[in-house]
Symmetry: C2
């Protein structure tokens, strides 16, 4: 049976129900751990399900921030130092990743509190998550205020990418399923994936075909 | 073996490889069909993998637009009429959904070209995709120019939601895996999901537990 919910129904929902509902109706989301450090080297780690691809040239990603902790600490650190990391989440660490969303005191590093390992690579200023297979280092570029609900979009440029070599396809596609990256839905639901297919570039009046990825070894 | 790619490597990549690479490294994405009509009722349908949750109260979602077709037609229509729909994609329609990305002439409706059915509900001005199990109707609220790479973020308020009643959990969570919603990676890779778990609200010094969803019948 189809159910219909109107804007009036949404407004009338009990707050926590509305948060679950609206967060889950948008579809599966990219979920990752954002690593930062302050100017004294104190590390911070926070789970985000609001990262989004903005463009490939320059290579840009955005994150949406709410004004509450731990997102607040992440935002302050990445503006202070200019750098942050985005680390994919896999089945082995998703419970620890979820635990970073607890409101720890500012002086506590979520890395230590949840049992994940900060690691520094190639002189990058922000900490990566060692247990993550796909690690992205970004330089802070722009902060856009979203006035309609007091959120903030942060745009960063990708300056480093670390990933398992055997997941890279010869056409540039990184097979993140092969890298065991997971996805999430809503506030708290985590999912592994199973590939249906890769589809060829679509053109009018031409049949779509499967793309067989050829990987580097 | 871990591979390291720097910003210089990204800039030096052949264009199409870079597009595949950067589009796939960000994680799994929400993928959906955006339905619009112009003021004469001519329909348009386009696949987007750039939708994102902005907030629950008011209930807001954003989409990123590039200045090329078919995104251009979608953008013009939703600004002209003030309304658009976001429709989840399932295994039965993902090839048709992918085909909407072909550059059809403006006078051709992608609904007809790919074989999907426009449907109107509850006096909403924009067409839904009949074959989609989760259908969201939105009112255009705000257009934000992202100057750094000439893209545009459009924010809409959710005014209607249609979904299978048995996928709604009593705490407000909509189980989109149960509704057969799929996810995507990169430009062309489609994936079904398999739930690992729902995890309880995280607090410092408290163990995370599983949430068992109780569904409406």
């Amino acid at each position: 049976m189809q159910k219909y919910i109107s804007s009036e129904d949404i407004v009338a929902m009990e707050k926590q129900k509305r948060v679950h509902f609206i967060n889950s109706i948008g579809g599966f989301k990219s979920v990752s751990l954002v690593g930062t450090a302050d100017n004294n080297g104190k590390t911070n780690l926070a789970i985000f399900s609001s990262s989004i691809h903005i463009g490939a040239n320059p290579a840009l990603m955005a994150l949406i921030f709410r004004p509450s902790p731990p997102e607040r600490d992440t935002l302050r650190n990445l503006i202070e130092t200019g750098f942050y990391t985005i680390n994919h989440i896999n089945e082995a660490i998703y419970e620890k990743a979820h635990q970073t969303s607890a409101r720890y005191e500012k002086e506590i590093s979520e890395f230590e509190a949840v049992g994940l390992t900060p690691t520094y690579k190639n002189d990058f200023a922000a900490p990566y998550v060692m247990e993550s297979a796909v690690q992205i280092g970004l330089a802070f570029k722009e902060k856009i205020d979203i006035a309609i609900n007091n959120t903030i979009m942060v745009i960063g440029e990708i300056v480093q990418v670390h990933f398992p070599e055997n997941c890279l396809s010869k056409d540039g596609f990184l097979d993140i399923e092969k890298a065991n990256t997971i996805t999430c839905s809503g506030l708290d639901s985590y999912h592994v994936t199973k590939k249906l297919d890769r589809l060829s570039y679509a053109k009018p009046d031409r049949e779509i075909t499967s793309i067989i990825s050829e990987y580097f070894e």
